[in-house]
């Protein structure tokens, strides 16, 4: 028997045959939902090998390492109740964690709340850049929901839709998008002018396809304004929710797109690094979850012309949905996505 876990993090034991069967079931689910090719028999064998090894920790073979980007890095140590400023935090990412990039971010991790304090963010970025070597992103979430009442100016689509007010809800989304684009371009411009190596639109699409479209348009505008700016777009879920229902980008309806389709929209807008997400099903086993994760991520990497960095953390990318991700599951997901999922980074 081999020890593994459920998606909720609890420990279970399975035979090697059961693990392989669950990986195959996960692959079938990915093929069925995303309409992508399944993994080959060789890839299934390799994935089964990674998930049936008795060791606590698994790593890639030498030479198969990839680039690591981290969202919201500069506030993560603070979240652990470590009394630390953001610049020392970034220096720890560089020289202790040996991360390949880092990200300056505000505790209220959305573009809208950053807008009134962007001057302070610029100063912090300027000072961080003087004392670090690795590339530093400025990151925040598009978070379109902040633009509807009671937080924002527009009627709340979540209240309008149940009342059947489809037209009014769509108009609200369109207004929210306009404001969100302005904030993303404003903050992105300021942080690029402060010297940031790139801007990370993290958790894109969390409010459905209006959120995704707003971020694509903000990317276009920033690229037009600063042709050398580097944009990373990290997604919020594997499937773009259709909250508006009639929004297109370059002739493609955005609702319902899976990672291998999302990345093509991101490329058209000018995104430089794309971060796809595949969610965890907490009731299924980790072998089932990794089967579907690697299948969708590999399809995304193969469809892409730009670097793809899968999101692999709490509740996404084959990692249980817990605050303390177990190293057995996390290291296996990390290695599997590098070696079978054909990722350029994580």
């Amino acid at each position: 028997m081999v020890q593994t876990r459920l998606g909720d993090g609890s420990t279970i034991e399975m035979t090697e045959e059961e693990i392989k069967a669950d990986i195959e079931r996960g692959i079938e689910d990915a093929v069925d939902r995303a309409k992508v090719d399944p993994l080959s028999e060789d890839e299934i064998e390799k994935l089964t090998d990674i998930y049936t090894r008795p060791s606590k920790f698994v790593s890639v073979e030498t030479g198969n390492e990839l680039v690591l980007t981290f969202d919201e890095g500069s506030v993560k140590l603070k979240r652990l109740a470590v009394s630390i400023g953001r610049i020392p935090d970034l220096q720890i990412y560089e020289r202790v964690f040996c991360s390949d990039t880092a990200e300056l971010a505000h505790v209220d991790y959305s573009f809208k709340p950053v807008k009134p304090i962007v001057a302070e963010e610029q100063i912090e970025m300027e000072q961080a850049l003087l004392s670090t070597v690795l590339p530093i992103y400025y990151g925040a979430m598009p978070n379109l929901s902040l633009y509807s009442q009671p937080d924002g100016a527009f009627p709340n689509p979540a209240e309008l839709l149940p009342k059947g007010k489809i037209k009014e809800a769509r108009e609200a989304y369109e207004g929210m998008m306009e404001h969100a684009i302005k904030d993303m371009v404003y903050v992105g411009s300021k942080m690029y002018e402060a010297g940031a190596d790139g801007i990370n639109f993290d958790t894109t699409g969390s409010a459905g396809e209006p959120d995704f479209l707003a971020t694509l348009k903000a990317t276009e505008k920033l690229k037009e304004k600063y042709p050398d700016i580097s944009i990373e777009m990290g997604m919020s879920g594997e499937f773009v929710l259709g909250m508006h229902g009639d929004l297109e980008y370059d002739g493609t309806n955005l609702a319902g797109l899976y990672p291998h389709q999302q990345v093509k929209m991101a490329e058209k807008a000018g995104v430089d690094v794309f971060g796809p997400v595949v969610n965890i099903n907490s009731s299924e086993t980790i072998p089932w979850n990794i089967g579907r994760t690697v299948t969708m991520m590999k399809a995304c990497a193969e469809a892409s012309d730009i670097p793809v960095h899968a999101n692999v953390g709490m509740g996404v990318g084959g990692v249980p949905i817990v605050e303390t991700p177990p190293v057995d599951s996390l290291s296996r997901a990390s290695a599997a996505l590098a070696e079978i999922g054909k990722q350029d980074g994580l």
Partner: protein, 103 residues
């Protein structure tokens, strides 16, 4: 989580050549293999040596592009980025800003 990823699959950042490969992905959209080959070519090492901390520490010291444990007199922070921009033949935004404020 950061440490687990770094050990399981990470390139090693400034300890090796991870920051340099990342820069080629960010500035030129290079996929992983292309970025590694480009950086290895510029550093004069084999691709497999890019993640060897013993070799890369010597290379980084010789090229003065920042080390994980920089000694006195070694380029640090912005100084190292000036040398990285020249070595990789890329524009680094903060380096350009620094030049515009000081020259």
């Amino acid at each position: 989580m950061v440490i687990s990823h770094a050990l399981a699959s990470g390139m090693g950042g400034v300890r090796t050549a991870g920051d340099l490969v990342a820069r080629m992905q960010m500035t030129r959209n290079m996929r992983l293999d292309e970025a590694k080959e480009y950086v290895a070519g510029k550093l004069g090492v084999d691709v497999k040596e890019l993640t060897d901390p013993v070799i890369m520490d010597e290379v980084r010291e010789e090229l003065n592009i920042g080390r994980v444990q920089p000694g006195a007199g070694n380029a640090k922070g912005m100084e190292a980025k000036f040398n990285i921009a020249k070595l990789l033949d890329i524009k680094i935004n903060s380096v350009e800003k620094f030049k515009s404020k000081t020259s």
